[in-house]
């Protein structure tokens, strides 16, 4: 249970900033906790409305089928059933969802319910609304849908082959997007190389973070104003309304999103706008609020998987000393049956094109295909995790094949701290970081210096012993301009987040933010920042819980996703508070008779004169004057509102569409993990006996919260690395559709987990902090690397898949030649 944390060295440079080192960097207890530990949080299913209907979806049992008829009459006969909604109605009342892809991929027609055809098991076909949960379920069973089964496409590597069934006729094939990426000079790299390491195939599997709270919503329709109020746990309302408003043929302000507490999101609650449109139509049709709570099986089957990806024909020119010069690969990504956030994944990986390494010559052929599987969503680590796993497998395999020390080869190839900020081959700027130092810290956590002693001990007990390393970068604060590199016609770029900070009539400080937290502690970290700037304590700062469009504290990209709150959310909070500080000082100066705002300061909830701190005005007086007594103010001070709204906009530029070049994200946090395994050579069972995770997210606003994110992301990565996988049979049935079969880590599954940190502040952000939270993907690489090391003694199998349950390890033990046939080293 013990953990060690490494004290940071003083950072090299910190931009002079207004925040006193008061609460920044302190593990202030969370404001959210008091209500959550008492079960007094408000999650979407906790909200009730009089006369609300419960909704259950009748879903497709087929992976691919034509719908020949739908008969809801038996369902409607059941007493207590209020009504139904079918695809025909949806197609008549809404427009198909906006598509991100250029033609022909952009011709996918996606509606809130299946229209004419189903394309994955679990796809909602009919929505049934009834007086109770149980009745809705009964009624959904009585809905009669006739299907004509079609051959499903379940092998992503065959999806684009001629003759394969096509999911979307208007697209013409199953290829959603294809693009070429060519940076540096790969041919020159080949010429310069001493050897080329060739890897035929690496496979990243399909899994997801499966938040414990499923998706859900309570939707009400105001007939008089045409306004929908959507109480839901959608985690990216900015994206949701951009998708929903055109579909529903209404203005964006007609969609009010409200949420308070959300039980985990991890990117899996971004694409629920699809179901929400069905609920909006039902609420309007039935003239009553409608409540939908997703079943676990439905979440696993039909709502948001992480992308499966294969890397083919990989070529890595290297020097004899292990310096990697570049890579060429063909990549195929599977987005499932519908493109909802996709094909953004086709460019988002390019935020980390070289991973953590200095190679400059990259050539990638990237294709995204659709299959008759659950649609994919931006699962934690979205698209970068797959690519970073690839770069880690490459360096691990290169070290293995060239018989080079895995630590030395990484240090030789890592981008160096003194090269930061570092421009990658495709123009992204890594803001700061010290990968070699993080690696050293991670190795210390697993006592790497004495590892040989543990190896001998394990071998004496008949076990195979392995140590592995996984490096990852957590890129945060997207530049949505990257979407134009996938579709040049799109009009998206930059990013934003909004905060409003006000001083109320009784001196209360109230903060509202446009984000939708799912456990990241936004209320707390925001209060820390505000407290420091106003000279009060976090307890004095009230941060409204959750999200509500009516607060008008949101903008186009508002939400909680993509590792950006510490930059965008807190950037907005800082900006709004700066405005408030200035306004408070102006009132103070005016009332206290000082010449300018430079003559006053804030302390302990007062604005005081510098030359006479006894002359002090409490915040309460400032609030009272502005709100209820403003005739006492001189005319030039009457524009003061003490209600300051600030939009944080990161310094993004439009990328170069021709070259697919530009800075696609603002910050890069680092996580480097070290993993020690013991493998039973008889069974392939293995145990992680030691594990260290080192994080560098720049300035840590609340260290305990950061560490919690590292724990959680690592646990998810270890689950995925060892046994979490969405497996399909050849008919397209999902064989792991709920927690009964999809085994996530439980308390006894966790290895001893130690964490460390360093802080390399970002030169680009308001607080020097970076977004973090998606970096746990390092665990996938660390486990693969450790297993490959352990198997060296028994035939040297190459680990080629991101998921390695015991039966796969056993296969590699029994037949190492099969995986070794995947890899060749050619001398140049």
């Amino acid at each position: 249970m013990s953990e060690t944390t490494t004290a940071p060295e003083r950072p090299v440079t910190v931009e002079a900033d207004e925040t006193k080192p008061g609460f920044i960097g302190v593990s202030v207890p969370r404001k959210e906790d008091k209500r959550l530990v008492q079960g007094e949080g408000v999650f979407v299913d906790d909200v009730k409305r009089h006369a609300m209907a419960y909704v259950h979806f009748a879903r497709s049992p087929y992976a691919h089928a034509a719908i020949t008829s739908i008969d809801v009459s038996k369902a409607m006969e059941l007493e207590g059933v209020y009504g139904t909604l079918i695809g025909e109605e949806v197609a008549a009342q809404t427009d198909a969802f906006f598509q991100i892809a250029p033609p022909p991929g952009g011709h996918v027609r996606d509606y809130a319910l299946a229209v004419g055809r189903v394309r994955h098991v679990g796809e909602p076909v009919v929505a049934v609304a009834a007086a109770t949960r149980e009745l809705a379920r009964d009624a959904a069973d009585l809905v009669e849908v006739e299907y004509e089964p079609l051959t499903p496409v379940v092998d992503m590597e065959r999806a684009a082959d001629p003759g394969m069934p096509v999911l979307h006729d208007e697209v013409g094939s199953n290829v959603i997007w294809n693009g070429q990426f060519d940076y540096g000079d790969f041919d020159a790299a080949l010429a310069e190389a001493d050897k080329v390491v060739k890897i035929d195939r690496l496979h990243f599997h399909r899994f997801s973070s499966t938040p414990l709270e499923t998706s859900g919503a309570l939707v009400e329709y105001n007939r008089g104003t045409g306004q929908w109020t959507i109480q839901s746990n959608n985690q990216f309302p900015g994206f949701a309304v951009i998708m929903m408003a055109p579909a529903l043929r209404v203005g964006i302000d007609k969609l009010r999103f409200v949420s308070q507490d959300i039980g985990g999101g991890f990117g899996n609650k971004i694409c629920t706008h699809v179901q929400l449109v069905a609920l909006c139509l039902l609420a309007r049709k039935l003239r009553r609020p409608v409540n939908w709570t997703e079943w676990r099986t439905d979440q696993h089957t039909a709502n948001s998987h992480g992308n499966e990806r294969v890397f083919l024909d990989v070529e890595v020119p290297v020097k004899a000393d292990g310096t990697m010069l570049g890579f060429r690969a063909r990549m195929i990504d599977d987005c499932g049956a519908y493109t909802r956030y996709e094909p953004l994944g086709c460019i988002i990986w390019a935020q980390v094109t070289p991973g953590a390494y200095r190679w400059r010559n990259v050539r990638v052929d990237f294709t995204q295909v659709c299959t008759n599987k659950s649609p994919c969503g931006p699962n934690r680590g979205y698209s970068r995790m797959q690519h970073l796993w690839f770069t880690e497998r490459v360096i691990d395999i290169v070290a293995h094949e060239l018989d080079l020390d895995p630590v030395e080869i990484r240090k030789r190839n890592y981008i160096r701290a003194d090269e930061m900020p570092y421009e990658t081959p495709n123009g992204c700027i890594y803001d700061s970081g010290d990968y070699a130092r993080c690696l050293d810290e991670a190795l210390k956590l697993v006592d790497y210096a004495n590892i040989e002693e543990r190896r001998r001990d394990a071998e004496a007990r008949g076990k195979l012993f392995g140590v592995g390393i996984g490096s990852t970068l957590d890129s945060g604060t997207n530049n949505f301009g990257q979407s134009t590199l996938v579709n040049p016609e799109l009009q998206f770029s930059g990013n934003n987040e909004v905060a409003t900070v006000k001083l109320d009539i009784f001196g209360e400080i109230v903060v509202t933010i446009g984000t939708t937290p799912q456990g990241q502690g936004h209320e707390t970290t925001a209060a820390q920042v505000v407290a420091d700037m106003l000279g009060v304590t976090p307890d004095d700062v009230n941060v409204r819980a959750g999200h509500d469009s009516y607060w008008n504290s949101h903008a186009g990209f508002s939400g909680t996703y993509a590792s950006q709150f510490a930059v965008t959310g807190l950037g907005a909070v800082k900006g709004a508070t700066e405005m408030l500080v200035d306004q408070i000082k102006r009132i103070g100066a005016a009332v206290l008779g000082a010449d300018s705002t430079d003559d006053v300061f804030l302390e302990g909830g007062f604005v005081k004169r510098k030359d006479n701190p006894e002359a002090a005005l409490p915040f309460m007086a400032c609030g009272a004057i502005v709100n209820a007594n403003n005739a006492v103010l001189p005319m030039e001070a009457r524009d003061i509102t003490l209600n300051c709204r600030y939009v944080y906009v990161p310094p993004h530029q439009l990328p170069d569409k021709e070259r697919k070049y530009g800075n696609l994200t603002l910050t890069y946090a680092t996580q480097i993990h070290a993993c020690v395994v013991e493998v039973d050579p008889e069974t392939g069972e293995y145990e992680i006996i030691d594990y260290g995770a080192v994080d560098d997210c720049g300035v840590r606003i609340n260290p305990q919260i950061v560490e919690g994110q590292v724990h959680g992301a690592t646990a998810q990565a270890l689950g995925a690395a060892t046994h979490e996988v969405f497996t399909y049979d050849e008919e397209g049935n999902l064989l792991t559709p709920n927690f009964y079969d999809y085994h996530v880590p439980h308390a006894l599954d966790m290895p001893p987990l130690k964490t460390g940190y360093i802080e390399s502040p970002s030169p680009f952000t308001p607080l020097g902090a970076k977004g973090m939270g998606e970096g746990g993907g390092a665990g996938l690489s660390a486990v693969c690397s450790a297993l490959q090391d352990a198997l060296k003694a028994r035939g040297g199998a190459i680990v080629w898949d991101s998921c390695n349950p015991p039966h796969r390890v056993w296969e590699m033990l029994q037949n190492p030649e099969q995986s070794r046939a995947n890899v060749r080293v050619e001398n140049m």
Binding site: V37, G39, F43, E213, D261, G519, T714, A715, F739
Partner: protein
């Protein structure tokens, strides 16, 4: 053969309060608590009885309330998360969970607290393995269990503040 019962009146004691309600025979205890009694602290996280978010204590035994019908709880004494604090004072487990950052999104927390309380009611000095086994039926996706185990250990030892 007797006619199957489709509804019944049940009496339960929840956190010291007595309730008498008519319930559909098929209604799960977790839905009775959440929908009928408005005790929404207990959560539903799955549909196969695997996740433990719905854990409550029934007659001194930790149970998954989604795996019990409300009518099976007739006459029982039930403890839910809403009953942990008393007179505005948080229970030592609740305090320890907060000070050790043993919760992030808070969705698994009520079930986790009830499993932990049940453990400490029966075993006031658990080892780390005993703690992990006690919460083995409670899934958490946010924390990796690291701080949860620490918090339960701290509460057992009476070291609840940070």
């Amino acid at each position: 053969m007797a006619e199957p019962v489709s509804s019944a009146t049940i009496g339960v004691d929840v956190n010291g309060d007595r309730y008498e309600r008519e319930v559909a025979a098929r209604k799960l205890l977790v839905h009775f608590l959440r929908d009928d009694l408005d005790l929404t602290g207990t959560h539903v996280g799955c549909d196969t009885g695997n996740c433990g978010a719905c854990t409550v204590i029934v007659d001194g035994v930790a149970v998954k309330s989604c795996m019990i019908l409300a009518i099976q709880a007739d006459g029982a004494s039930i403890e839910t998360v809403e009953g942990l604090a008393s007179d505005g004072e948080l229970h030592p487990l609740q305090q320890a969970f907060s000070s050790r950052h043993a919760l992030q999104c808070g969705y698994c927390t009520p079930g986790m607290l009830m499993s932990a309380k049940n453990l400490l009611d029966h075993n006031p000095e658990p080892t780390e393995t005993e703690i992990r086994r006690a919460i083995q039926g409670n899934i958490c996706r946010c924390t990796g269990y690291v701080n949860i185990v620490e918090a339960i250990d701290a509460a057992a030892k009476g070291e609840v503040s940070g």
